[in-house]
Subunit: 589 residues, 2 copies
């Protein structure tokens, strides 16, 4: 089957995942009221289903090709991008003064999920452009904004993010690309960058590279890194692309997945220096880059959700069609659809409930980001900002772990056919795999959560988050319906476990930081289970009250009884596991 955008489910999650009175129902989203959200989501769904989805498998097969410095994307790719520009999608969240629509991240997240379900390899290009718009709108000089922003906001030009070098991946201290000052205020860049997504391609007239580099007199380490804008073609003052800049793509990576997305090695300054302009202040480039990274992390979390959704749809459809065996008591004729077998049901429920939980977390994060800008009250904006900071690593890492697990289950549901590339289930698994790695590996996310986010406001941010989950639990406890009774115990257990593990982390961080770090990954998972379980419970409560989306109740129950029950084990790994982790020194001696 081909992907069908689950617009009703997504709109419901936008409205209710964060709990009553939040999400779309709150007063901070006047631009989503009166059916505006529905209209845009429906339009975005058409683009996903009609334009992007048909290109997904052929794109994987054709891949992107490099010949004589020119990268050709897969057949149909450039046309699809033309329709992207026509639709005005590139400017969805861009500031209105730059020609964008200024719509909230909550809505963008919904669209991003659908587009990525339809075609992850394609969506990487617009996602990076969106990050560049953010960075330029906030940190770019008026001149840079005037020349570049309208072109990127319209989609005519795409943008990239150049961080990684062979010796500098997770650790940007080791960055070597250098920038020298020109007398006219511009810079000349020299160096090699790797893993540059859509670093070169044939879909736009120009490509705008945002590049991290060091000035000759920069301090060592990350405090000596600056951000530069380096266009493929140097625009003339009227904005048309002019002379070719001194940069080129020297290779494409041969990857496990997202084959249609060119992953480029970029060389800057081979012929005298690539001309670039400073974005923000000298030596403050990392802060600018993190503007891009943070939203990109949510976007990558949504990739996990997106692949999870697409893989679940494919597996569920297959399980209805494919007939094998007969479960006990099956009353039908001949072989039963495999969806009637309990074990297949377990896989499908795991897939759907995990995906829904990860979606809930991502949408809560988007809502928090929006509120950090839109809430009228400064203190509330500040709280929302901390909430966004706290949830972002969870959205990224839990979302992408879920993407991997769900995509692998999708292969499993298909049996032998899942291993055959023509089926498409394997592509989801291959594509999803990168998302746990890029934009900060999931290990880095866990470290970020534990070392930088738990201490926010002296622990008040995480305490507020747990209090929010407890409020949901209390609402669950007030309902007599059996499904909610089944949710109560496991959800309470998960919150208790999270509270215990959080206390341990806050106590241990200073005294024995390596012990805290040893539990960072299970802690993040535990956070995801609790936050996801509470998010699903919020939606189940809304479903119960409104008589809409009744499947949310079944999903909340399944998740509580089969996923939240893993919380105690995770908490034990956090609080008791550190010594055994450090024993790696002996075990690998």
């Amino acid at each position: 089957m081909s992907y069908r955008a689950p617009t009703a489910e997504i709109l419901f999650a936008m409205a209710h995942a964060a709990g009553p009175g939040r999400g779309m129902a709150g007063g901070v989203y006047p631009d989503l009221a009166d059916g505006a959200a529905v209209a845009i989501v429906e339009q975005a769904a058409r683009y996903a289903e009609d334009v992007l989805a048909p290109l997904n498998q052929p794109g994987d097969k054709a891949g992107a090709r490099l010949a004589n410095g020119v990268v050709s994307t897969a057949p149909g790719w450039a046309d699809a991008y033309g329709r992207w520009i026509e639709g005005g999608w590139a400017g969805l969240t861009a500031p209105e003064e730059a020609g964008g629509m200024g719509l909230p991240h909550l809505l963008d997240s919904a669209c991003l999920e659908m587009w990525t379900s339809a075609n992850m390899a394609y969506m990487l290009c617009p996602m990076l452009s969106a990050g560049a718009i953010d960075a330029l709108a906030r940190h770019g000089s008026p001149d840079l904004q005037r020349l570049y922003l309208p072109k990127i906001v319209s989609g005519e030009w795409s943008a990239t993010m150049n961080l990684t070098e062979p010796q500098a991946g997770s650790d940007l201290n080791a960055l070597r690309t250098r920038a020298e000052r020109n007398p006219d205020g511009s810079y000349r860049l020299f160096g090699q960058k790797i893993y540059i997504t859509y670093g070169e391609h044939d879909m736009t007239d120009n490509i705008v590279h945002l590049v991290l580099a060091r000035l000759p007199d920069a301090p060592a380490g990350t405090r000596g890194i600056s951000l530069f804008l380096v266009p493929k073609f140097l625009p003339s003052q009227d904005g048309s692309p002019g002379a070719r800049n001194d940069l080129r793509c020297t290779g494409l990576e041969h990857k496990m997945g997202i084959n249609a997305s060119p992953t480029c090695t970029m060389v800057y300054g081979d012929g005298g220096g690539a001309v670039g302009w400073l974005v923000g202040e000298e030596n403050r480039g990392l802060a600018c880059m993190f503007t891009m990274m943070n939203n990109a992390r949510l976007g990558v979390g949504l990739q996990g959700v997106a692949i999870g959704e697409a893989a679940t749809q494919k597996a569920a459809a297959f399980a209805q069609e494919r007939r094998q065996g007969r479960p006990p008591g099956y009353a039908g004729e001949g072989m039963a659809p495999i969806a009637a077998h309990a074990d297949v049901r377990r896989m499908l429920m795991t897939m759907k409930s995990m995906t829904a939980a990860a979606r809930a977390i991502c949408l809560m994060t988007a809502d928090a980001i929006d509120r950090s800008h839109r809430e009228p009250d400064a203190a509330t904006r500040q709280q929302a900002g901390e909430r966004a900071s706290l949830l972002t690593p969870v959205a990224k890492a839990f979302g992408t772990d879920v993407g991997n697990e769900v995509a692998s289950l999708g292969v499993q549901v298909h049996g032998g056919m899942g291993y055959i590339e023509e089926t498409g289930a394997a592509q989801y698994m291959r594509d999803a795999r990168i998302a746990a790695i890029y934009e900060g590996t999931n290990g880095i996310q866990a470290i970020d959560l534990v070392t930088r986010k738990l201490p926010l406001s002296g622990g008040a941010a995480v305490a507020a988050e747990i209090a929010d989950m407890r409020e949901t639990l209390a609402r669950v406890g007030r309902l007599d319906a059996p499904a909610f009774a089944a949710v109560r115990g496991p959800l309470a257990g998960a919150l208790d476990a999270l509270e215990r593990a959080t206390r341990y982390m806050l106590e241990t961080l200073q005294a024995a930081p390596n012990d805290a770090l040893a539990g960072a990954t299970p802690y993040l998972r535990l956070f995801g289970l609790a936050r996801g379980g509470a998010g699903l419970a919020n939606m189940a409560l809304a479903a119960h009250e409104r008589g809409e989306q009744p499947q949310m109740i079944a999903l909340a129950q399944f998740f509580a009884q089969n996923v939240c029950v893993q919380a105690d084990g995770l908490a034990a790994m956090v609080t008791d596991g550190a010594a055994s982790v450090h024993a790696a020194q002996e075990a690998f001696a």
Copy 2:
């Protein structure tokens, strides 16, 4: 790095995983005494490291090719197979009267693991031949044995297993390939088989297909299936390959992994009927095929172990070389090896301990198979046979789940480089993925464990297994060393959880079979955690007593504190999760 066979670790596991006085130390393995096991394992290790490992990545890249009905394997493949024949490896476990060495499965499992670590795609060919030797030696007529066994035992001819048809995968009831009787006692076969591993290739003079088919007057369902031997070339009475039989390979699958292993669509009887001979009795073919399947299931479990081992080695070596960041308190110069970071340590320890636990289970299973043949006392043989039956689905499913999880962690440890095919980590992940599917999906294994294996001897087999684990726990409890104190609680918890879940399963199987089936997969996982944890504890105890392989103590502790602690959550999924599983009907309505 390239694969190094961990011979000392494997020999230690052979000797001690099953507990004191079992494994190699027991009296049933005179043929492994006086250093014989060491000598053979070392020789097999050379073949793995020197011949197979260098072909693994090039083979993945080149793949197998079909042109004009001829399948060409990757460059070097046929030469490697020649050395396989020279080494006499094909007859390792084959009966001595057929020219084999008659060595135990315990030893074969050790070799199979190493060869598969080195090159899984290659090893599928010999693994299938070994299954055919088993089936022919037990069920073949004297004539068939005389003509075919020596050639397969020497490795000159290879063999295949033909079960699957497009409409008959997990459910062989739906089999349609038909066989008609010839006047001379032979048969003519007609039909299409899919997913036939090494169904056609260029490494041997002849290929012997074992094919399931129906006779015209056969009863419906699985009681009407017969097994036939259908050679590619019909041998003359002197054994040399003669006329080409009426069968051909019409296509190769394009798969996610094991690309060098040709996965064939085979068509039988297009030109008047493929000549074949009955193996065993008419309509009893499934029983013969299960002779092959059972050992093959252990072999597939070992594939999970093998990929786990190879992926762990590669990740550990990379983590020592790759430098990024500095963990708190790091005293070295510059960036630290990533192996010094707690989160990477957790991944490496998870990889190594999970692999060791799965290896322990597989070797226990092999030992039980050997004892079911070799124990002098009939009642002990019977018990050992039941133990082998009980453990086989766990070895297969837990082993291959571990293979998938460890291979995926291996990609993660490599960061961005893990996603690049040249690194080799991604190939392990792609190759491993099939093992959870073929030879009975892991869901089928879980169903087999719960519905056929738990009831063995009225539950006495599983009770004996749990008692065996409790004995290990008691030995752990008698030691004061801190690592063992850390093992005690989580292992006891896992055994309690397993006992609880087992009781639930035995009580529920008759009354509400679909509820039992809904928990089959978490039950098998729980079984694997407990059995694996106890197996590691056995080895840790032996390491403690003997002062050998000290890393086993660290692995047992890590596994207990980070994996066994998941047992309660799994038990809850088994005992409380059924209703929420069946709610799939509402959630996917």
